[in-house]
Amino acid sequence: MDIFAPISLILIPLIATPIIYLGGRLANLQSGRQLSLSRWLALFTLLLMWLPFIQTARTSMIVCPCEFTVGLVTLHFDGLSVLLAGLALLLGTLVVFYSSESMAGEPGESKYYAMLVAIVGMMIGLGGAYDLFNLWLWFEGMAISSYLLVAFYRERPSTLEASVKYLVQSSLGSVLVLLGIALIFGITGQLRFDALAQATAAANLPVLLAAGGLFTIGFGVKVALVPLHTWLPDAHSQAPSGISAMLSGVVIEAGLVALLRALSLLGTVPTTWGELLMAFGLLNMVVGNLLALRQQQVKRLLAYSSLTHIGYMLVGLGIAIYANQAAGAQGSFFHLLNHGLMKGLAFLAAGALLYAFTSQQKDSGDHGLTIADLAGASRRYPLAALAFTLAILGLAGLPPLAGFMSKWQIFVAGVAADDGLITAVILFTALNSVFSLAYYAPLVNMMYRQTPSLAVVGGRPLPATVNLPLILLAAGVVVLGIWPNLVSNITELAATAVMAGLGG
């Protein structure tokens, strides 16, 4: 397999990150003005990365899920890697566009774009990792980039508080993951995925279970499993809106991918990780829904709803592993993709409105965008309002939008398992999906009011760089709803990758 494409896919963002940062800072220093060179460098980098990505994707999906070694490190791209990398790259590119105006002139602008490129690169590396240590390494790299991005508005006390909490909790999670890796290495002496898959079959069971538990909780902090989720509402609402979109859309999903990779090494253990994932899924759904219902701040509401959607993904994966239904995993990965698009769109649209409403060039103070601020937004910002509506209705699972299709696929897999308990789980999931309408629908109603809020009246127009990502993501949500088969190749391969380790 041509090694050049995957290598450049990994190396380009790593090399570009310091260049973007230094280039941006130096250009500003030299000229004495805010030139936003970092924005152009970041855009160039991400666009450039599409070429090796497409090449790698094609090879991985059609020829083989191949591995290739550089020195001591082996990388391996399969369907799941392609899915994660594609989503990260797509959202990253759109967010760079989107942030152009809102970040222009900010003192931390170079840092923002540099870290954005870094986090995309880290996630791609995470998807391609083929041994436990490198998995942890890329995971940690992603976490560190995200700390800096969440803490972007560090002069604000609430942001600082949110990012410190996120830092501490996430670090605790990383330590637990390391403990788990240490346990595995201690009893098997292996770190590579292929070697471990056989080595764990004969290993000491309680230790393996302990490692699995540590992985679940350790990675689970990042995936925002309940009760490890407490950092999420603060971090996702305090971050700049483009970063909120990335966090909810792909970063927590990357944590889920890491968790699945780690657990699939323990698939030969006769314990059903499936049941564990389903239980967490149900808990996430309920907690996410009930807490989102109470919210008046839009970004916090969306953050809590991410908990619910992680719950749907976990249920689908749990069913797949427990009942050997690959379609459940496929549905979950389809939902992973759709959630990335829909939640990304929701955060970007909400952020667009927030940007329009604030007179300074930063997200407004502690209270952010409230539901009452949305009143009448459709009159002055019809595009953002329509985009937000499509995102919300998609998240609620209404056809013919994307969210319905992925949820349906999970439901089909669940009922096909022909197990009373799982059918009950499916019913409970459907109930939660309907319940979520109680907090999604009022958002839409608010935007289509006649009497605008003060915020809408005093708002400024939205630039094209903000509208373009909204249009593209909205189109994606609608198209995938009508034609879900477009991505079924990728999701099927991702499902196969996971089921290979955990199925049966």
């Binding site: 009930l290 439901f411 009011r449």
Partner: protein, 581 residues
């Protein structure tokens, strides 16, 4: 030809919706024109499709994926309801030209109405349970958006969300049906399901039967899910006429009728259906007597008449139920549009501020009287024939108590109908009226619907034969018009007519019955409180909010507690994993 007509019936309103969306808010007259043209065109397509009904799937599109095979079957049941949806849809759109004149957000209105009409036609014409569910959801979305159309009115928004959540919760029943059909029988196809349903395990079939009943009851606003329909009256009246009287609420009855052969043998199912229908007939009949809001009376009456249709299905009278569906769609849409004209002119929905309108608005009075005759079930209008057929079905079945209940319902209907007509059109005017003449956009649909109400019963023969020929599983008995008339002219009908006349007499002589009515005060109070169902709704909503508030306490905001949460999670997971070994 037939596949093309089906695509036109569904596609023309959707194309119209797209064009309306593209035209924008700046050119209202173009919006009105486009909406009318595309709605009427769809109606024409559906009418042309009617005589071409057949039992086989004429469109089959294999999607090679999770959607399975998408099929459309233009049988008698589907084409009838598609025609009802599109024709009454076009009349409601024509009425809207005048009713919504000068209204803001007109584009959004027409997009949603046209989207709804197409989705409703698709719902009844499709042969795939998955597509049926998808169209079901789209109609729910449009209904919610149109009820809450006036977003600045909190009652409207509340009504919309209530309708959405209740019907969606019921929809889970339909979801289960589609999923299990696919899982157990390998296909989403309706005909396949009905044919192979006897092979399903009894418990599974029973689960499906009752979950379908739940879905149908929620969509058709039957007890115990009816509380959304009266609150949905906040919608603009053409929407109430179309969605909440003539089409969407029929989707539940349609579902029951369509799946009757699969579930008829399930123990207790038919009894449950009859009980649900009867309770809806009686409870909402009483509630209609206690309210002074004109649209609410019509809403309760809709639930009550849907109860007749549901009971008919439970009794095995499939043709009777669909015949009444046709009659009801025509006369109820007419009553709603007429009520809309009154409300539009007077600016109030409160009947206590009406009265004596008969002299001032003779056309509306005449139309209302025709509608009232149909509602009460007096000859020669369509409501009489279809209601009597349902009563005959009750007489013939082993559930004779259903017949008694339906009779009482007929009496109640007569009472509240007389009350409604009298309060609005007769007596002394209770306020000064500033009336202006109605535009043709309002009067033409009314006159057409009145003509339909007077004559639609003549279609009994062709309709019955169409259903008999194209519904192979239903074991129907084809009637001609003459046979139907003969069947209705029986002693049972004489009893029913007596009860109806008695009901009207009760209203007219209510002064003499004063004491008796006072002793029923407890009943009135219970009825005003909707027999406790609103209390349950309220309890559930408050309960959810309280649960959320309680849970909010766990989000302490303190890092130490968050870390405790993580470690507690770890401990719990380790305990569970080690314990399972």
């Amino acid at each position: 030809m037939t596949p093309f007509l089906i695509l036109l019936t569904i596609g023309l309103p959707w194309l119209g919706a797209l064009l309306v969306w593209l035209v924008g808010e700046k050119r209202p007259s173009l919006l009105h024109a486009l909406a009318v043209i595309f709605a009427v065109a769809a109606g024409v397509a559906a009418l042309v499709l009617l005589p071409l009904a057949e039992a086989t799937a004429v469109i089959q599109f294999n999607t090679q994926g999770i959607l399975g095979e998408l099929t459309f079957v233009p049988d008698g049941l589907g084409t009838l309801l598609a025609a009802v949806a599109t024709v009454i849809g076009s009349l409601a759109v024509i009425f809207s030209v005048s009713y919504m004149k000068g209204h803001a957000q007109l584009r959004r209105y027409y997009v949603l109405v046209l989207l709804f009409i197409g989705a409703m036609a698709g719902l009844v014409l499709t042969g795939s349970l998955l597509l049926l569910f998808i169209f079901w959801e789209i109609t729910a979305l449009c209904s919610y958006a149109l009820i809450a159309f006036d977003n600045d009115n909190p009652a409207a928004v509340h009504g919309g969300i209530k309708a959405l959540i209740i019907t969606q919760l019921g929809g889970i029943g339909l979801l289960l049906l589609a999923l299990v059909a696919q899982a157990q029988l390998g296909s989403y196809d309706l005909a396949h399901f009905i044919a192979w349903s006897p092979t399903l395990p009894t418990a599974v079939l029973a689960l499906l039967a009752f979950s379908t009943l739940t879905a149908a009851a929620a969509k058709s606003a039957q007890v115990p899910f009816y509380t959304w329909l009266p609150d949905a009256m906040e919608a603009p009246t053409p929407v109430s006429a179309l969605i909440h009287a003539a089409t969407m609420v029929n989707a539940g009855v349609y579902l029951l009728a369509r799946l009757y052969p699969a579930f008829a043998e399930v123990a207790g199912w038919r009894t449950a259906v009859v009980i649900v229908g009867l309770l809806s007939v009686l409870l909402t009949g009483i509630m209609a007597l206690t309210t002074y809001d004109l649209k609410r009376v019509l809403a309760y009456s809709t639930i009550s008449q849907l109860g007749y249709m549901v009971t008919a299905v439970g009794l095995g009278g499939i043709f009777a139920s669909q015949f009444h569906l046709l009659s009801h769609a025509l006369f109820k849409a007419m009553l709603f549009l007429a009520a809309g004209a009154i409300i539009h002119t007077l600016g109030t929905r409160d009947m206590r501020q009406m009265g004596g309108l008969g002299a001032k608005m003779p056309l509306l009075r005449n139309v209302f009287v025709v509608g009232a005759l149909a509602l009460a079930g007096l000859p020669p209008v369509n409501g009489f024939w279809s209601k009597e057929l349902i009563l005959e079905a009750g007489l013939k079945s082993e559930m004779w108590w259903a017949y008694v209940g339906l009779l009482i319902g007929a009496g109640l209907t007569a009472v509240y109908t007389s009350r409604m007509i009298w309060l609005v059109f007769w007596g002394e005017a209770r306020q000064k009226y500033h009336l202006h003449p109605l535009s043709p956009a309002m009067t033409i649909p009314l006159i057409l619907l009145a003509a339909g109400t007077l004559t639609s019963w003549l279609l009994a023969g062709p309709l019955s034969h169409a259903l008999h020929d194209t519904l192979p599983f239903h074991d129907l008995h084809a009637l001609t018009l003459g046979e139907m008339v003969a069947e209705v002219m029986s002693w049972g009908t004489a009893v029913a007519l007596t009860i109806v006349l008695l009901g009207m007499a009760i209203w007219w002589q209510r002064a003499r019955l004063g004491g008796f009515v006072k002793r029923l005060g407890w009943l009135e109070k219970t009825a005003v409180n909707s027999f406790g169902f609103e209390f349950i709704n309220h309890g559930l909503t408050v309960g959810a909010q309280r649960a959320g508030a309680l849970l909010q306490k766990t989000q302490t905001g303190q890092l130490n507690w968050n870390v405790v949460g993580i470690l507690a999670g770890l401990l719990l997971v380790l305990l569970i994993l080690w314990g399972s070994v």
